[in-house]
Amino acid sequence: MTIREMITSLGLNPQSVLAVKEGKLISNETRLGSQGEIKLIPVISGG
């Protein structure tokens, strides 16, 4: 599964989040490994 597929499966829009691993931005095309932690940072601000 790629990051993009994971984001979509969570009901989120890939336009509205960025994926970060160990403090580094990673592409949505990255395949998820069996270990490690991915942080999804919301990018939309408003009001």
């Binding site: 829009n13 890939p14 336009q15 509205s16 960025l18 970060v20 580094k24 931005l25 990673i26 592409s27 949505n28 095309e29 990255t30 395949r31 940072i41 919301p42 990018v43 939309i44 601000s45 408003g46 009001g47």
Partner: protein, 306 residues
């Protein structure tokens, strides 16, 4: 298909911008953002090298990214933080102010942060200013906008900066555009622009150098360049119309990459072909108290809040 290669080198890309068909690594993405910002500034004649630029910062990703980009490009850019006093129970203003302050400590560039503390200067927070006006939460946001615009203009003039810039991105502009189109607010549509010139009555030049970037791109720039910013939203922004409009646009963008870009830039191109008539600006006078331009004689809307 795995991770795309960076268009400019062999490294793995960290961001793929479908609307541009462009995938870039960290280094080339930062360079691209900085270069595109400079092009946008020049195209819209926002300001020039040697001008003193004041950056309105909120402690958020867009304004802090903008500040960094301008410093990296060699502009004389200082920050302005307006402490609205939104702190009860959440410490929002205190925390966002701390992020703005931290930015100046983290940067290698020479810069300074001006802070306007509403409670200190005027004896009231923005909540207290809004309390004397009826209308609930919607009025609070409207008062907040009025206060920020007033103070941004005042400080820019008093400290002699040529222009004040804000971190509004393309998602912000497209959401405003969509909102104005849905209501057919022709006057607002005629005035929406990445740059608003100064006028003879003391309204300073205002510009939005990041208006060509998606919000995702300004966030990526902040993350890549280690800019610490406040993630929390203003506690009063919950349910804001702008967020709903952004959601709608992002849903369209997801199925048709480039929708937001085309919507905003084709609007700007079409405006140049006089799609909207020029609206006559109301006669402005100077506020009796603060001397800033106002649409009605006597006190301006800001001074009436005090």
């Amino acid at each position: 298909m795995g991770v795309h290669r960076c268009r400019r080198c062999a490294a793995d890309s960290v961001i793929n911008m479908s609307q541009h068909r462009l995938a870039l690594c960290e280094t080339h993405f930062s360079e691209w953002v900085e270069s595109m910002t400079l092009n946008f500034i020049k195209k819209h004649r926002m300001f020039e090298a040697g001008h003193r630029v004041l950056v309105a910062v909120s402690g958020g990703k867009d304004s802090l990214s903008l500040w960094r980009i301008l410093l990296k490009l060699g502009f004389h850019a200082d920050g302005l933080y307006i402490d609205l006093g939104i702190d009860e129970g959440c410490g929002y203003s205190s925390r966002s102010r701390a992020y703005a302050r931290k930015f100046t400590q983290d940067q290698l560039f020479q810069t300074k942060l001006h802070v306007v503390d509403l409670a200190e200067i005027y004896g009231k927070t923005v909540l207290e200013m809004a309390a004397c006006r009826m209308g609930g939460k919607k009025k609070l946001c409207s008062v907040c906008g009025l206060v920020k615009r007033h103070e941004m203009n005042r400080v820019t003039r008093e400290l002699g900066y040529e222009v004040i810039v804000t971190g509004h991105n393309l998602d912000d502009e497209a959401a405003v555009l969509l909102g104005n189109v849905l209501q057919w607010e022709a006057e607002y549509l005629s005035r929406q622009s990445p740059v608003l010139p100064a006028d003879g009555l003391g309204l300073v030049k205002k510009a939005k150098p990041l208006a060509r970037f998606y919000e995702r791109e300004t966030a990526a720039y902040a993350i890549i360049n280690g800019i610490d910013y406040i993630l929390d939203e203003c506690p009063f922004s919950l349910g804001a119309t702008s967020l709903r409009l952004k959601e709608i646009l992002n849903s369209m963008e997801n199925s048709s990459p480039g929708t937001k870009l085309r919507f905003y830039f084709n609007f700007l191109r079409t405006k140049k072909k006089n799609l909207f008539q020029e609206f006559e600006r109301p006669m402005l006078s100077l506020c009796e108290k603060c001397g800033q331009a106002t649409g009605a004689p006597g006190l301006c809307a800001f001074c009436r809040l005090l």
